[in-house]
Structure formats: C-alpha cells, structure tokens
Symmetry: C2
Subunit: 108 residues, 2 copies
DNA sequence: CCTCTACCTTTGTTATACAAGGTAGCTTAT
DNA sequence: ATAAGCTACCTTGTATAACAAAGGTAGAGG
C-alpha cells in the first residue's frame, strides 16, 4: 500500500474530509477511534492531520462534539454531525457520483 | 456548478490526471479537443493547467504524441497512451474502486 | 503585416499532509 | 503525598503539489 499511496496520493487528497464525515455519521467516535478505524484503509492518517481538519469542520459547523467521561483517563471529545454536516455529506455523495459518471463517459 | 466547484475542489483535485488518461485512452485528441471535451464536466480546466500536466505525464512516459498536419493552421500534437499509460490507467481504476469500497464500509 | 491557431512557460496562491513538539488530566505505585 | 506514566487534547512549522492566471513563441493564411 505504501508504494501505491505515494503514486496515488493526489487522488486520495481531499477525500479525507469525505471519509471522516462518513465515519462520524455512522458511529460516535473520538480521535483515537478515528485513527484506529482509518488505519487499515487508504485514508490512514496522523493526529497532526486530523486535528486541524476537525477544527476546520467545526468552524464550518459541520461537526459538533460533546465531552464524555472515560472510565479511566482524561475525558474524551466525541464527535457527531450537525444538520449542515449531514447535508454536506449528502452533497459530497452526489458529487462523487457525478465524478464517477463523468469518468465513465469520458471513456467512450 | 460554480459554487459546488468551489466547495468540492479538494475532491476534484488530483483527479484531472485520471480524467485525462481516460479521455486519451478513448480518443485521439489534441489540446483544444481536450479543453472542449472537459468543458462541460467538473474537470473543466485551463491551458495553463493542462500543458504542465501533459508534460509531466510525458516525462513519466505515460503519454506519447505525434504531430499531425492540419488542413488550416499550424500542425497539432495528438496524444495517445503508452503501455505504461494504459497500466497506470488500470491501476487508477482499481484504486478508485478501493476508495469507493472503503467509503461505503466506513458508512456502517 | 495582421490575425488566428496552436504550441508552451512562468509565477503566485492555496491546501494538504506530515512530523515534531507542547499542555494537562487521571491512575498507579512507591 | 507525590512522582511517574499513560491517555488525550491541540499547535506549529515545513514540504509538496495542484491549480489558475498571465504572458510568450511561432507558423499559416488572408
């Protein structure tokens, strides 16, 4: 995967937001969960990438969070989608399909 | 579309190479043809974007070209895929499917 | 010689990704 | 008690890359 990642990084770029919104829409997660869920996928990433992205999405009011006490250790920030976030995810899905359709039409 | 393009530019970014290889695999084209074929799609772009991309793909030996006389005006450079180019296009298609599958699995 | 077509380069902006470093709460062991 | 260690939060700085806009060369035809 590492070699492929190098070669296709441009394609993957910008899709982390899509992956992240998709994941958060499906599960209530905090950062360590996100890292873990993405680690086995092409979207595997670092904290230093994830936090700024989460901050941006929060500024755009696509995400919300709540503090949740942990059984052991410091409290955790669990993320969820706002209504705007769900709308954005829907739009991204539509855009993704548009790209797919366009690519398939260019191939004729 | 212009508003959506702004919002989703990160997703579109990096896919121009994929779109371009797909198009050139399907048709023998020169730059004006490419601009025209892409103009009605999310991949619409400028000469200043296209030429450097074509140069890079040629350096990577994914593309080849041949000069063809025009009935009127200067000769045109028609592009085609090399064997490596076709292999790359196949790989991109596989990677695209991987991304699609991953996204769909994250949404559960 | 003027215009059109077609080639291509240069420069600046923007966004992403990553690596490294920094703060602080909670638990455990001495 | 208190120090050490773990978990979890987050920021800063750097490299890379795509994109876009503008500018530049040159042949063919009227």
């Amino acid at each position: 995967m590492s070699q492929a990642d190098e070669q296709f990084s441009a394609v993957r770029k910008g899709l982390l937001e899509f992956a992240l919104l998709t994941l958060i829409a499906a599960e209530r997660v905090y950062v360590a969960d996100i890292m873990s869920r993405l680690s086995a996928t092409p979207f595997a990433t670092q904290e230093g990438t994830l936090y700024p992205l989460l901050s941006r999405l929060r500024r755009e009011e696509l995400l919300d969070y709540e503090w949740v006490e942990s059984e052991a250790g410091p409290p955790r920030k669990y993320y969820s989608l706002t209504e705007r976030g769900e709308a954005r995810l829907t739009d991204l899905g539509a855009y993704w399909r548009l790209l797919t359709d366009t690519l398939s039409q260019l191939g004729r």
